[in-house]
C-alpha cells in the first residue's frame, strides 16, 4: 500500500500544474497571437509519435509543425539534482532532435523535412545550471552520448503576480530556433526581449484542456475527479445518508477524460483513485471498479480547499470517513428493513 505525505502530494501537484499552465501559455502563443498563427501548420498539446529509429512512442510536452517545414518539440523540465536524472533528460530530448515526423492536424503524423528544433523550458532558478549541465558538461563534451544535431534552445521562465515570462538564456552554446523563413518567429523575441504571457490569455485554453502530456499528477486528477467528474456523475445516483454512492470503472473514467479533455489513461485514474481510497473517499470493489462516497467534506482549516483536504486525508489514512459512514448507514438501513420484514 502506497504511503503519501501531504507536503509531497501538494508539491508534485504544483509542479504538474505549472507544466499545464506553461503548455497553455505556449498553446496561446502559437494558436492565438495574430502574427504567429500564419506560420503554424499545427500545434499539438498531447503529442505522441513513433520514433523511426526504434518505433517507440516519443512524447514531448508539446509540438509545433511550422509551414516552413521545421518542427518544434517543447519540453518543460525541472532539473534533477543527480547526474543520472540529467542524463535521462538529455537522452529524452536527443530523441526529439532526431524525429522526422510530428503530429499533424488530422492526428496522423506529418513529415518535418527541415528537422525538429528542441525547446527546453526550465525555471529561472535552474537556467544557469541547465546551460552548464546540459550544454557544457554533456553536449560540448567530446565523446559524450548526448550529441544532438542542433543545440537545444534553453528558455527560462519566471512567474510574477499575473504572468509567466519566458527568456532565452544568453549563452553562446545555447541553441536558436530556426525561423528565418517565417514572417514572425518566437525565437527572435525570446532572444531579444522577455516574452510575457498573462494568465488571462491562456485561462480559457487551460479550462478547456486541463491536462499536460506527462502522466497526470495523482492528486491533481483526484481533485479534478472529485470536484468535476464525480459531481456530475453523482446527480443521478442514490444518496445514502450524507453521501452519494457512486460506482466507477477506471477505464470508463479514463475514456471520459480522453473524450472531454483529450488526455487520461487508466493508469492515471488508478493512481488518483488510490489517493481517494487512502483518504477514505472511495473503496476498491475488485477489478477496475471503485465505490465512491461523494459528498461534502469537512475542512479543518479555514483556507483549506478540497485539494488540501484530500492530501491531508491521504497522508493520515483515517480509519473512518465518508466510505465507512456510507457503509454503516447502508448496513443499518438493511437491518432495519430486515427487522420490519420479520415482524
Amino acid at each position: 500500500m502506497e504511503s503519501y505525505t501531504k507536503a509531497e502530494l501538494l508539491r508534485s501537484h504544483e509542479i504538474y500544474d505549472d507544466l499545464v499552465s506553461i503548455v497553455s501559455a505556449f498553446e496561446f502563443l502559437f494558436t492565438e497571437v495574430g502574427s504567429l498563427v500564419p506560420t503554424v501548420e499545427h500545434f499539438e498539446r498531447y503529442p505522441s509519435v513513433k520514433h523511426s529509429v526504434d518505433n517507440r512512442s516519443t512524447t514531448p510536452d508539446f509540438t509545433v509543425v511550422f509551414k516552413d517545414g521545421v518542427g518544434l518539440a517543447g519540453e518543460i523540465a525541472r532539473f534533477p539534482l543527480h547526474e543520472n536524472g540529467v542524463d535521462k533528460l538529455c537522452s529524452q530530448i536527443q530523441r526529439y532532435d532526431t524525429l522526422d515526423v510530428l503530429p499533424g492536424a488530422t492526428a496522423s503524423p506529418v513529415e518535418v523535412p527541415q528537422g525538429v528544433d528542441v525547446l527546453l523550458i526550465v525555471p529561472f532558478s535552474l537556467g544557469t545550471a541547465a546551460v552548464k549541465r546540459v550544454l557544457r558538461d554533456r553536449m560540448l563534451e567530446d565523446g559524450h552520448a548526448y550529441a544532438p544535431g542542433r543545440a537545444p534552445c534553453i528558455v527560462q521562465y519566471t512567474k510574477d503576480s499575473e504572468r509567466y515570462t519566458f527568456q532565452r538564456i544568453n549563452d553562446p552554446a545555447n541553441g536558436r530556433l530556426r525561423e528565418s523563413n517565417r514572417s514572425e518567429g518566437l525565437g527572435a523575441w525570446l532572444e531579444a526581449d522577455n516574452v510575457p504571457v498573462r494568465a488571462d490569455r491562456f485561462q480559457q485554453i487551460k479550462a478547456a484542456r486541463r491536462f499536460g502530456n506527462d502522466p497526470i499528477d495523482p492528486l491533481y486528477l483526484a481533485a479534478h475527479l472529485w470536484v468535476t467528474e464525480f459531481a456530475e456523475l453523482s446527480q443521478e445516483q442514490p444518496r445514502i445518508g450524507r453521501y452519494v454512492s457512486l460506482v466507477v470503472d477506471t477505464p470508463a473514467v479514463a475514456n471520459r477524460l480522453r473524450t472531454r479533455y483529450g488526455k487520461g489513461g487508466k493508469k492515471d485514474v488508478d493512481r488518483a483513485m488510490a489517493i481517494l481510497g487512502a483518504a477514505q473517499l472511495a473503496t476498491p470493489l475488485g477489478g477496475s471498479k471503485w465505490r465512491v462516497a461523494w459528498g461534502e467534506l469537512a475542512r479543518r482549516n479555514q483556507i483549506d480547499s478540497l485539494l488540501e483536504v484530500i492530501a491531508e486525508r491521504a497522508e493520515s489514512r483515517p480509519k473512518s470517513g465518508p466510505v465507512s459512514a456510507m457503509l454503516r448507514t447502508e448496513r443499518e438501513s438493511r437491518e432495519k428493513s430486515e427487522q420490519s420484514r420479520l415482524f
Partner: protein, 383 residues
C-alpha cells in the same frame, strides 16, 4: 401534536385561524384568484385599504431567476415543511400561507414576471423581519431559484428612472467593506445626496449594499444589491415601471449572460463571465487565501485549488445540482467564471451571486477577450 400529524379538519381550522390573522394586504393576496396584473392588483388593494381606513402595508419584493415557477413553489413548500399551512394558485401567481411558531402568519406570493424565467417573491413582511430571513434561507437551500445581482450601473439606472418624476434623494445607505465590516450612513431630509453622490461616498474597497431612496411624495423605496426592493409609499405604477421592470430587465440580461456557457466536447469554450472588483483588490496572496476560504465555507460548494500563484485557478462544483465551473483570478480586479460540462443557468447564477456577496463586486459581464496581433504587441502590453 405536531402539525404533520394533525387531522385534516384540525389543519383546516389552523388555516382558517391563520387567514383570520393575516394583515390587510396578505389577506388580499390569499383571497385573490382572478388573473390580474401586479400593478392593478396592488393599486386596487391600496384603494381598498384607503377606503377601509387601513394603513397600507409596505411591500417587499425579491426577484429570482427560475426556469419554472411551479417547481420553485413546490420546492419552497417542501423546504418550508410544516410552516407552510396551505398554498393557492392563480394564473399569475402562487400564494403560500406561512406561519412560524410564535409569530404572526403571513402570505408569500410567487408572482411570475412579464418576462419568462423570472419571478418576484412578494410579501408584506419587512426584510429585517425574522420571518423574511427564514424565507431567504429557504431560497438558499433550494436549487429551483437563483438570486440576481444588481451592478452599480443597475442601481444608477434605477435612480435615473426615479429622478424622471422629481428630485431624488438618498436618506440611508449601507455598504460592506472587503474585510467584512459594515458602513451605515443616514442623511437628514434637507441634505439628502443623489444616488450618484451616495455611490461616491462608498470607498473603493467597499460595496454598496442597500439604499433608501425617495422622490418627494411620489415614491419611497429600499433597493438591495441582490435584486430586492421594498415599496414603502407613493405611486406603485411608478415603482413597477422604474424599479421592478428595471430589475426584471437585469434578471433577463443575467439569464442570457449565464446561458449557453455549458461546455461541449469538440466545441470551442465560451468566454467566461467576469466579475468586476475595485482596482487592486486581489493585491496580495492573503486576499486569495481569504477568498478560497470564504468560497469553500459555502456549504453547497465543492472548491479545489488548482493553482495559487501567480494566478488563482479554482475548480468548483455545486453539490446541489452538479454544476461545475472553473474560477480564475488572473488580475487584481476581476474574477472570471467558466462554465463546465454541466453548468445550469441557476447554478451559474448561484455561484456568481455568492462571489458578488463575498467580494465588493461592482459589475458582471461577459469577459472581452482581446486578440493579440503580434508578439511586439504582446510584449508591449506586458503579456
Amino acid at each position: 401534536m405536531s402539525r404533520s400529524t394533525v387531522s385534516p379538519s384540525l389543519a383546516r381550522r389552523a388555516e382558517l385561524l391563520a387567514v383570520e390573522q393575516l394583515p390587510f394586504f396578505d389577506r388580499l393576496l390569499w383571497d385573490s384568484d382572478s388573473p390580474v396584473g401586479l400593478v392593478d392588483f396592488v393599486m386596487g388593494g391600496r384603494r381598498s385599504a384607503a377606503h377601509e381606513s387601513v394603513a397600507a402595508d409596505q411591500l417587499t419584493f425579491w426577484t429570482l431567476l427560475t426556469p419554472d415557477s411551479d417547481a420553485l413553489t413546490d420546492r419552497l413548500v417542501m423546504v418550508g415543511g410544516t410552516s407552510v399551512l396551505s398554498r393557492r394558485t392563480s394564473s399569475v401567481s402562487h400564494a403560500l400561507l406561512i406561519e412560524f411558531p410564535r409569530t404572526d402568519p403571513f402570505v408569500l406570493a410567487v408572482w411570475a414576471a412579464e418576462t419568462s424565467g423570472v419571478v418576484h417573491l412578494l410579501s408584506s413582511v419587512p426584510v429585517s423581519d425574522g420571518r423574511w430571513k427564514r424565507v431567504e434561507r429557504w431560497i438558499s437551500n433550494t436549487t429551483a431559484g437563483a438570486k440576481v445581482f444588481l451592478s452599480d450601473g443597475d442601481f444608477l439606472r434605477i435612480g435615473d428612472r426615479m429622478a424622471e418624476f422629481g428630485v431624488m434623494g438618498v436618506s440611508k445607505l449601507t455598504a460592506r467593506s472587503g474585510d467584512g465590516s459594515s458602513l451605515n450612513r443616514g442623511f437628514p431630509s434637507r441634505r439628502q445626496p443623489s444616488l450618484l453622490e451616495a455611490v461616491g461616498m462608498v470607498d473603493r474597497n467597499s460595496q454598496l449594499r442597500t439604499v433608501l431612496m425617495h422622490v418627494g411624495d411620489v415614491l419611497s423605496i429600499h433597493l438591495r444589491r441582490l435584486a430586492g426592493a421594498t415599496f414603502y409609499s407613493g405611486d406603485f405604477s411608478i415603482f413597477y415601471d422604474c424599479v421592478l421592470r428595471e430589475i426584471e430587465a437585469t434578471a433577463t440580461r443575467q439569464r442570457t449572460l449565464f446561458s449557453g456557457r455549458t461546455r461541449h466536447v469538440n466545441v470551442p469554450i465560451a468566454p467566461p463571465v467576469s466579475i468586476t472588483l475595485p482596482d487592486g483588490f486581489f493585491g496580495n496572496r492573503a486576499q486569495s487565501g481569504e477568498f478560497i476560504g470564504a468560497l469553500s465555507s459555502i456549504s453547497h460548494l465543492a472548491v479545489a485549488t488548482v493553482h495559487r500563484n501567480p494566478y488563482l485557478h479554482l475548480a468548483v462544483s455545486d453539490y446541489t445540482d452538479g454544476s461545475t465551473f472553473d474560477v480564475f483570478v488572473t488580475s487584481d480586479d476581476e474574477v472570471d467564471v467558466h462554465g463546465g460540462f454541466t453548468s445550469s443557468v441557476e447554478g451559474f447564477a448561484r455561484l456568481v451571486t455568492h462571489i458578488t456577496d463575498l467580494l465588493p463586486a461592482t459589475d458582471i459581464r461577459e469577459k472581452r477577450l482581446e486578440s493579440v496581433g503580434s508578439l511586439e504587441e504582446l510584449v508591449a502590453l506586458g503579456g
